[in-house]
């Protein structure tokens, strides 16, 4: 069960007015608000336990290292990853995928190989592969979507061959809300000897993730969409892959021994964490995971499914609104267009009513091209959002119609 009143009181950012109206924050797919527990964990660490990690002989360095490595263990448990050293801290999903492309990709891919992505990918799961393809000469194949926003599984199956080395796919679309059948996709990839990378940027805050259950080879997510700080994210990969991958960046922390002739690399995961990491970011992410676990992702998933169903129904009641993305299995994202108003005008007018949504291409320009739309408006819900807020969105859309329809 979700105790909305208690949960909303945990998020100081929610309790404010904008333009004289109560804030209705429906831009969670872009970034989520932070609970007091995260804000306090970050402030407490800076105030009491702050020092650099892994190299001090003093008390504060030990406390900082314990807290940082403790956060890594929280992430491991959150993903049910087999080992803590498979958790690499990065800046976010974008850096995680760039790391895999630059390290695994450069090391393992050859001209003639194929990387399969999908039409619903965020730019972060397109461009890193393009950058590497330009250097190596492998091919990128794109699995199409169906008109309802589901992945076309038959077309995906037809794209896979012995040339496929990787299937890189989003767990949940940031535009359509579609939740992809990862287990099935992983099995298809593995049957062709390919690996599977999952972009979990949107999914981790909405549904339980178990990387062993999914069977995937790489999983990437960002802290800030999971109610944690910005600038911290996670790459999980299977140990044998990380062992075989060359370092992504060079510097301090990632070495065992350095001489001007040659250097050797530190053990996992430090091989991939050059330089002083975002220590307090990781600690804040650990606090966010504790907070989310306190509610429970199964409860969150159930509550949001109900909220999404309600919001979909009331949004459909507004004349001239068309929802983009109606796949049977969806997370709580509602992209829409209106026949009378452009998404940017909708965004500005909703803001005047206190309702925060995103308008634009959502860093998914190829998907927009496929949909034949320059932009959409997008309302994205978290577990702290309410039915009343869905009603407020609808009331604000009626104001849009008063001006434009």
């Amino acid at each position: 069960m979700i105790d909305l009143e208690r949960i909303r009181a945990d998020f100081p950012g929610l309790a404010q007015e904008v333009h004289g109206k109560p804030l209705v924050f429906l831009d969670n797919a872009a970034s989520a608000q932070k609970p007091r527990a995260v804000i306090d964990a970050v402030a407490h660490h800076y105030a009491h336990d702050y020092a650099n990690v892994h190299r001090g002989v003093h008390q504060l360095a030990e406390r900082a290292t314990d807290a940082y490595e403790g956060a890594r263990e929280k992430v491991r448990a959150f993903l049910n990853a087999p080992a803590r050293h498979e958790i690499v801290f990065v800046r976010g999903t974008t850096e995680a995928i760039n790391l895999v492309a630059a390290s695994w990709g450069r090391h393992s891919l050859r001209a003639g190989d194929e990387v399969v992505i999908t039409e619903m990918e965020h730019h972060a799961n397109i461009v890193p592969w393009q950058l590497m393809a330009e250097q190596i000469g492998f091919q990128i194949k794109v699995a199409p979507i169906l008109d309802d926003g589901s992945l076309d599984m038959e077309a995906l199956a037809a794209l896979l061959s012995e040339r496929t080395r990787l299937v890189a796919v989003t767990h949940m679309s940031n535009v359509l809300g579609t939740v992809n059948p990862i287990r099935e996709i992983v099995d298809m990839a593995h049957a062709h000897g390919a690996l599977c990378l999952v972009d979990g940027a949107q999914s981790v805050s909405h549904l339980p993730v178990d990387v062993q259950d999914l069977g995937c080879d790489f999983y990437a997510f960002s802290g800030h969409k999971l109610f944690g700080p910005t600038g911290i994210g996670v790459l999980w990969a299977r140990e044998e892959l990380l062992e075989a991958m060359p370092p992504y960046q060079g510097g301090g922390e990632m070495i065992r021994e350095v001489s001007f002739e040659r250097s050797t690399w530190a053990e996992l995961p430090y091989k991939f964490e050059a330089g002083t990491p975002h220590i307090v970011g990781a600690i804040g992410l650990g606090a966010a995971i504790d907070y989310v676990n306190g509610i429970g992702l199964a409860a969150i998933e159930a509550y949001e499914a109900e909220l999404l169903a309600y919001a979909t129904e009331v949004l459909n009641s507004v004349p001239g609104v068309r929802i983009i993305g109606t796949a049977p299995h969806k997370g709580s994202v509602l992209s829409f267009v209106m026949d009378c108003a452009h998404p940017h005008d909708i965004g500005t007018l909703l803001d005047a009513e206190g309702v925060a949504v995103r308008a634009g291409h959502h860093c998914a320009m190829p998907l927009m091209e496929r949909l034949g739309l320059p932009a959409t408006a997008r309302a994205s819900f978290a577990f702290y959002n309410t039915r009343e807020e869905a009603d407020a969105l609808v009331a604000a859309l009626h104001k849009v119609r008063e001006i434009f329809a």
Partner: protein
């Protein structure tokens, strides 16, 4: 902040039914404008005669009400003006929506001033200026302009 100060009837109406919309045959100054952040796109066509007078101006494109209305009002306003006068209007318009001190220039914006409300919406100023940057580019010789 009342959004009706921005979305005045004239703007909504011009956004819905932009004037001078479509390709201009015989144009001798053409430029494309693009706001990658919004996806707004437009192509501006000008026919400038030997005396440097803008004889005709038309545009094509897609975008929000603000960008379409701004292009519509601009094409109406620059017709019959000299290229120099159009450039002065661009500078005046820029001052108007950027909320900077309006420099004294020997040209009036007239009806276009209705877009002044956009200055209260920093994220939307680029929507209003796209057409004008494209005009500036067209007069300078054409090509692509981006307002990101």
């Amino acid at each position: 902040m009342d959004p009706r100060a921005l979305y005045q009837e004239v703007i909504v109406e011009h956004g819905r039914r932009p004037r001078n919309f479509g390709k201009l045959e015989g144009a001798n100054h053409i430029a494309r404008g693009h706001n990658p952040l919004c996806g707004d796109k437009m192509t501006l066509y000008l026919k400038v005669n030997d005396q440097g007078i803008v004889e005709d101006a038309r545009f094509e494109g897609e975008g929000c009400a603000i960008s379409m209305a701004s292009a519509s009002l601009m094409t109406e306003a620059v017709k019959g003006k000299s290229a120099e006068e159009a450039e002065l209007m661009f500078e005046n318009f820029h001052d108007l929506v950027m909320n900077t001190h309006e420099a004294k220039r020997p040209i009036e914006l007239g009806k276009i001033k209705i877009l002044a409300g956009v200055k209260a919406y920093p994220s939307r100023v680029k929507c209003a200026t796209l057409a004008w940057h494209t005009l500036h580019n067209a007069l300078e010789g054409g090509g692509e302009v981006s307002t990101e």
